[in-house]
């Protein structure tokens, strides 16, 4: 029995059931959107309006009236940037920029970090300030950074400000990347708005591959491993043997990667199908053979943002070795803090910052030595590099994921002192499906990029009916795997 009131209430924001890409609701939403978008595809202005209205509605479904914050910050930054561009005085430009930075960071701080600092004050002075318990507006960490890069780029005269407010609001609220990124640069995005809506087979194949691959990563790999294994381990590591904890950490490495990059891929795929190319956010990061390489392949939009708007302005590598290390550490510390208001994230950032600094020393030393290692030695070195990097990253994930330091150390303690390899078979029998999915996940991760291209090309050449058949079969399979309770993606809290 279809209930019309239920249909209407589905259109309203429900804090208990925020919308995700992998929900039935999104399917209907996307179909409606494509219909309207296609109907007005000839007119640039109409396209922008349709996209923006649907985006704002999507935002509203995801976080209620916080949608107002996006509109408000679009109004403020749109006007401030134009003002910065118009005014000839360097001092006025600078003060306007500082004002914009303070405003954006202030907003982010208010929603994300107030309770954290209240907690610190309470701990330090035994004060009793009650926490605000604010709900974090979804996506605020992403659009704040987008606003900042736009304003800073205008200030640096690297781009001209947007003339049309709707274009800017469209850029900021663009629904594919709204909740989980990637952080898109205005300089990349704005020029694409006025291009005609045209798709070729490459766009079709790439888009379909990204959407299906993203869904697969999110539902089959990430959610499945997380719900059926990893969450139990991190819930209370002390209750599990070292072997379980270690597999739990390996599993979590896949969970976080597949969850986050799966969501990013879906965003990229949807954008591609609607005529927008967004740079890839992940590039098989666990294939990296050094931590420096890892950060070039992991959450690329964030690390490049931090590089361009934090590390380089701090002086980068131009002010001597010591300053460079300090800059690196500081950048990663802030990068860690961006992920969430807790000491765990700060510590996680500090670990990565330190590792990057150490890796810099290694790279400089290699450069100075000028010996080039080739042949089997190079391969061996590369494999060792991949293994060491992966394990270091996993070690850091422990702190990233554990709810407290206590839990993190408990997990490490279990791995070191209570390993109990004897239970391996028992464990395998209890979690057979989970372990095979973990193995599948890692195998897929290490496939060469060539395989991806061939699948994309193939998908691009299939006629519509074939695509529908593939999609239906794929979704039917996903439903078999998916649990009915939608999981909150881990990166939601950012």
């Amino acid at each position: 029995m279809i209930n019309i009131n239920k249909l209407l209430s589905e259109l309203l924001y429900d804090p208990k059931d925020p919308v995700l890409f992998n929900s039935a609701f999104f399917f209907y939403f996307f179909a409606m959107f494509l219909l309207c978008y296609l109907a007005v595809s000839k007119s640039k202005t109409a396209r922008v309006w349709v996209y923006t209205v649907f985006s704002l509605f999507f935002f509203y479904k995801a976080c209620g009236y916080y949608v107002g914050l996006v509109i408000l910050s679009a109004i403020v930054d749109f006007n401030l940037s134009r003002w910065i561009h118009r005014t000839p005085s360097r001092t006025v430009k600078k003060s306007l920029l500082i004002f914009s930075i303070l405003l954006n960071i202030g907003l982010l701080f208010y929603f994300k970090y107030t309770d954290f600092f209240i907690g610190i004050i309470n701990d330090l002075s035994a004060g009793h300030i009650s926490p605000l318990h604010l709900m974090l507006p979804i996506g605020i960490s992403f659009y704040t950074f987008e606003n900042l890069s736009y304003t800073i780029d205008v200030y640096r005269d690297e781009i001209k400000p947007v003339n049309n407010f709707m274009d800017y609001l469209f850029f900021l609220s663009f629904f594919p990347k709204l909740m989980m990124g990637p952080i898109v640069r205005a300089a990349d995005f704005i020029p694409q708005i006025s291009m005609p809506y045209r798709l070729n087979s490459e766009d079709m194949g790439k888009g379909m591959y990204l959407i299906m691959g993203g869904l697969f990563k999110k539902i089959v790999i990430s959610d499945f491993i997380y719900q059926n294994f990893v969450q139990f381990i991190f819930d209370d590591p002390s209750k599990h043997t070292g072997l379980e904890c270690l597999i739990g950490v390996y599993g979590y490495a896949l969970v976080i990667y597949c969850d986050f990059s799966g969501y990013s891929d879906m965003a990229l795929g949807i954008a591609r199908w609607t005529g927008f190319k967004i740079p890839a956010n992940f590039d098989s990061p666990y294939q990296s053979s050094s931590i420096t390489e890892f950060w070039r392949r992991w959450h690329i939009s964030l690390s490049s943002w931090l590089r361009d708007y934090l590390y380089i302005p701090l002086g980068g590598n131009r002010k001597g070795k010591v300053r460079q290390f300090i800059n690196l550490a500081l950048t990663m510390l802030i990068g860690g803090f961006w992920h969430g208001a807790s000491w765990n994230f700060i510590f996680w950032g500090a670990l990565h910052g330190t590792a990057l600094a150490v890796d810099k020393v290694r790279i400089d030393w290699l450069k100075k030595k000028k010996t080039v290692i080739t042949g089997w030695k190079a391969t061996l070195l590369k494999v060792a590099g991949v293994l060491i990097t992966f394990h270091f990253v996993c070690f850091c994930w422990v702190f990233f994921k554990a709810s407290t330091f206590h839990d993190a150390w408990a997990l490490i303690h279990q791995v070191m002192f209570d390993f109990q390899p004897g239970i391996a078979m028992e464990l395998y029998n209890g979690y057979t499906a989970v372990f095979w999915i973990i193995i599948l996940g890692f195998v897929l991760h290490f496939l060469p990029a060539k395989a991806e291209f061939s699948i994309e090309r193939l998908l691009g050449r299939i006629p519509v009916a074939g695509s529908v058949a593939i999609m239906v079969t794929f979704i039917w399979l996903l439903v078999q795997v998916k649990s009915t309770q939608p999981m909150m993606p881990i990166y939601f809290q950012f």
Binding site: E10, Y28, A31, L199, G275, V468, W476, V479, Q485
Partner: protein, 466 residues
């Protein structure tokens, strides 16, 4: 590359897929392969008026089945009213006290324990001790730590009581800092100790190696921040030497449990025990107390059901009662009995557990016993977490054990909120339990400790009334 504009394709694909999926949702098909039941697609589930919740109906039916209220009131034993006549043991969240069914036996629930608590409060007694047995639910002093804290703040006393020599959860215990060398040989329930080794009350006996040591340090918490009265519990020994904070002591004794008492050197906050003897002798643990009051000893053993207590020798238990007398023994088990959630026959558990209770009762004739009924445990049935059917069945067995042995009984499942409470504890705004829908986290354990304290204090106050 084809030059054709395919901008309408995404729309066709999405709408085509949607139509097929909605169509598939309308078909009534089910099929399975081997054990795997394929799930039906339902693209319209969000839009349907939900049909009357079948889950709830079964839950109601279940709870009526769970009801333990007998229609025929059982007569009072030894002139003590049977609590089953006034309360339903399946839903009552307070402590129920049963009289021993053995004719002439005057044992009733926690009567002895409540009486000595009263004496303690009136200054007529120095110490009251509780031995709290349990599984992983109480590891790391969970629940017991909170119970001890509340009892000590009301009745006095300071210190964690018994701590074993080594422990797999030493690093997670927040009520004492505990480190030890790795060369202690730990004999316990699960590794078949040789016949010559007598297991201690904790289910462990520790034999030192050549360089064995164990170190305990107080923690910065009220009543736990310094050591005063220290006792070392050990097995038979013939003049072996240990060094405690660099002072030598000789251990001798022929009994299964012997005790060395000492006062903590106030100049040193920690206690460092080094074995300096010639032959390996058994150690059990070290007890920390300070002044008059209540002491709760945490006897946790991971993965056991309580049946393992049958391995304890009567001599050891009796001797332990002389060296370290207990006024109340708490038996908190269940999580490891419910390993198959849908199992509802626990006679295999009841039989050996009855033997355990029989012998403990015999070895500790004056001590009160409190059996804690299992906590709620949920499992995933189709798409939802619900209370395992085994919970009610196990509670019934635990209740019978209590009634048959004249112990007190406290239904933790009911105290948590009854049917479906574990789901609320796991998924509530304040998370109180882990995603395994079985174990409490620290906050949850604190809540259970507080609930138990409240239940005990209710009995205590009732006993004070004339």
């Amino acid at each position: 590359m084809s030059g054709k504009n395919k901008s309408a394709y995404p729309f066709y694909i999405i709408v085509g897929t949607l139509i097929c999926l909605v169509g598939l949702s309308q078909l009534n098909y089910t099929f399975s392969y081997k054990d795997f039941q394929f799930r039906k697609l339902d693209m319209l589930s969000d839009l349907r008026t939900s049909s009357p919740d079948k889950q709830k109906l079964t839950a109601v039916k279940d709870s009526s089945k769970l009801s333990g209220l007998d229609s025929t009131a059982t007569p009072a034993k030894n002139n003590i009213p049977n609590p089953d006549n006034t309360h339903d043991f399946m839903s009552y969240s307070g402590i129920m006290e049963y009289a021993s069914p053995v004719p002439g036996d005057t044992i009733v629930g926690m009567k002895h324990f409540l009486a000595v608590l009263k004496e303690l409060k009136e200054g007529k007694r120095r110490k009251v001790r509780i031995a709290y047995f349990g599984d992983s639910m109480i590891e790391g002093d969970l629940i017991t730590g909170d119970l001890r804290d509340s009892l000590q703040s009301f009745f006095g006393g300071a210190g964690v009581g018994f701590v074993p020599v080594t422990s797999v959860v030493a690093s997670f215990r927040t009520t004492i800092t505990h480190t030890f060398s790795t060369d202690w040989k730990d004999y316990h329930y699960k590794n078949a100790p040789p016949a010559s080794v007598t297991l201690g009350l904790s289910g462990h006996t520790f034999l030192p190696g050549g360089n064995s040591w164990v170190k305990y340090s107080p923690v910065k918490k009220p009543r736990l921040d310094k050591f005063r009265e220290v006792s070392v519990l050990y097995g038979p020994a013939t003049a072996e030497t240990i060094n405690i904070n660099d002072k030598a002591y000789t251990l001798s004794g022929s009994q299964p449990v012997n005790r060395l008492d000492l006062e903590q050197d106030t100049a040193q906050p920690s206690l460092m025990l080094r074995y300096a003897g010639n032959t390996a002798m058994p150690f059990y643990g070290v007890c920390f107390e300070s002044g008059n009051g209540v002491y709760v000893d945490n006897y946790s053993f991971r993965g056991i059901s309580g049946v393992e207590l049958g391995h304890l020798s009567a001599d050891m238990v009796r001797r332990m009662q002389q060296e370290r007398p207990y006024d109340l023994v708490v038996m908190h088990y269940g999580a490891n009995v419910l390993f198959r959630p849908e199992l509802t026959d626990y006679s295999w558990y009841q039989r050996p557990m009855k033997k355990v209770m029989d012998s403990l009762r015999q070895d500790l004739p004056a001590t009160s016993f409190l059996i804690i009924g299992t906590a709620d445990k949920s499992y995933r049935k189709t798409d939802k977490y619900i209370t395992a059917p085994g919970v009610g069945a196990l509670l019934k067995v635990q209740h019978e054990l209590a009634a048959d042995h004249g112990t007190a009984y406290w239904n933790l499942f009911a105290a948590m909120g009854g049917e479906g409470s574990m789901v609320k504890w796991v998924e509530g705004d304040t998370v109180l339990a882990n995603k395994d829908y079985t174990h409490f986290n620290r906050q949850g354990a604190a809540r259970v400790g507080a609930l138990l304290y409240k239940a005990i204090m209710n009995e205590y106050r009732l006993a004070q009334q004339p």
